[in-house]
């Protein structure tokens, strides 16, 4: 099989899988919230409501487009794409599993293998903030504007702690390649970075919640204050695109947490596991964090915005700097050298 078709197949399958998982997450969110609040949740469309996401999608397609008066028509249509595309592109470098053979071509189970894949995720993921702030500004609505500004301030503030927490993992693995960082954790449960970098894990986890605008940091769409935040004026498929982008960002963040701290697709004490076992292990670990996203949302109350900025700048940033300090010091003494 030509190399191009292998690439196309992998890209289509992984991207399709992520979209399917995102659709499943919208259902899981409603089901889990229902269980937590002692309700039943969606149960009309299909068995146990499993076809609900499809019904939602069809409904979104046939809903009316409303473009508010005074809105910038081009930017208003461009913003949902600019928000969703970066979130969906970052999945390209996630190393789901090791070597496999597709139609005689030896390859690995990730869309692309870059030697700077950690940098790629940060660079492309950081672009999502443009869609949010443009969506907020172009709607010509005060709630949207405030929501967009808040979301962008929050996303850039927590990006710092996230990058610095990631850097301490890069120091330990000695590479910016996510696959190398995963392989550095092979060998057993005790080799996972979560044990040697507990502070970085905590900082990274908190930062992922803030980066994806999830509870308890969902100030971008804090209903009692800002109605719907930056997508107040959006309807139909454009709203759905914002929504999908948000869930895709959540999935990628959960994948990154697993890659950095839980050994990615490595199966403990079985380093030569076949690719489908590794993929299963990766998805099982990822689903823990995806469940955590939902669980936290329906359990914790919301912060206040000044508390959020205080936590980001006065607690997380100094702690992240301290962490890279200690990690870098140990590495310079040759502790992590192999």
């Amino acid at each position: 099989m030509p190399l191009f078709f292998v690439w196309l197949l992998k890209a289509a399958l992984i991207y399709g899988g992520m979209l399917g998982l995102a659709a499943g997450m919208t259902l899981a969110e409603r089901k889990v919230s229902a269980w937590i609040q002692w309700r039943i949740g969606p149960n009309r469309v299909g068995p146990w409501g499993t076809l609900q996401p499809i019904a939602d999608g069809i409904k979104f397609i046939f809903k009316e487009e409303v473009v508010p008066a005074g809105a910038n028509p081009i930017l208003f249509r461009l913003a949902p794409m600019m928000s969703a595309i970066p979130a969906m592109l970052t999945v390209a470098v996630i190393p789901f599993a090791g070597e496999l053979s597709i139609g005689g071509v030896e390859t690995t189970l990730s869309i692309a293998d870059l030697d700077i894949s950690a940098l790629y995720v940060v660079a492309i993921g950081g672009l999502g903030v443009y869609g949010v702030i443009l969506g907020g500004w172009s709607s010509n609505s005060k709630y949207s504007l405030m929501g967009g500004l808040r979301a962008s301030a929050q996303m850039i503030s927590y990006e710092l702690s996230m990058i610095l927490a990631m850097l301490s993992i890069v120091v330990m693995g000695g590479s910016l390649d996510l696959r190398v960082l995963t392989e550095a954790q092979a060998g057993g449960l005790h080799e996972w970075n979560i044990w040697s970098q507990p502070l970085a894990f905590l900082l990274f986890l908190i930062a992922t919640f803030a980066e994806t605008n999830r509870h308890p940091f969902d100030f971008a769409e804090c209903e009692p204050e800002l109605v719907g935040g930056f997508h107040t004026e959006y309807s139909s498929m454009k709203f759905a695109l914002f929504f999908l982008g948000e869930y895709c960002a959540m999935i990628v963040m959960a994948c990154l947490t697993v890659t950095f701290f839980l050994g990615g697709g490595e199966v403990p004490w079985w380093p030569s596991a076949p690719w489908f076992v590794q993929l299963g292990a990766f998805l099982a670990k990822t689903s823990i964090f995806l469940f955590l996203f939902i669980w936290v949302r329906w359990t914790l109350p919301r912060f206040r915005f000044d508390q959020l900025m205080g936590l980001g700048w006065k607690v997380m940033l100094p702690l992240a700097l301290l962490n890279i300090f200690v990690t870098g010091g140990l590495a310079s003494m040759g502790v992590y050298g192999s």
């Binding site: 690439w7 992998k10 890209a11 991207y15 979209l19 979104f60 046939f62 809903k63 009316e64 487009e65 473009v67 508010p68 008066a69 005074g70 249509r77 949902p80 794409m81 969703a84 969906m88 592109l89 999945v91 869309i111 692309a112 293998d113 870059l114 010509n140 609505s141 005060k142 949207s144 504007l145 962008s152 301030a153 850039i156 990006e159 710092l160 990058i163 610095l164 850097l167 120091v171 000695g174 910016l176 109605v227 107040t232 498929m237 454009k238 759905a240 000044d306 900025m309 205080g310 006065k314 940033l317 100094p318 700097l321 870098g328 590495a331 310079s332 003494m333 040759g334 992590y336 192999s338």
Partner: protein, 124 residues
Amino acid sequence: MLFDYAPILILFGLVLGFAVSNVLISELLGRRRKAIGKETAYECGMGAIGNARLRLSIHFYLVAVLFILFDVESLLLIPWAATANEFAQAGVGTTVFLEVVGFVLVLGVGLAYVWRKGGLSWDR
């Protein structure tokens, strides 16, 4: 090298196609009904007052400037982070680390200054 990025171009094509078709499909298929006030911005049921192109709190600007400062810092730390182990093996780990410490300290002083001046307290 650049060849490694080719699969990302394929993914970009898929993602762009999905996003553009999503925005277009409801524009083509969605129904349209005119109604008074439908196109005004939502302000909790009242008529919209004024325009939303407002002047806003300087706080947001300050956060953006601080972000650039510290983002560039972390950017400059990345090459060191990826090679810290190799420096240690070459026997110059301590020297390089001390240089990084000096660099981070300068920015740490900057952070302390902004903190002291109240640039980090949102409600001031």
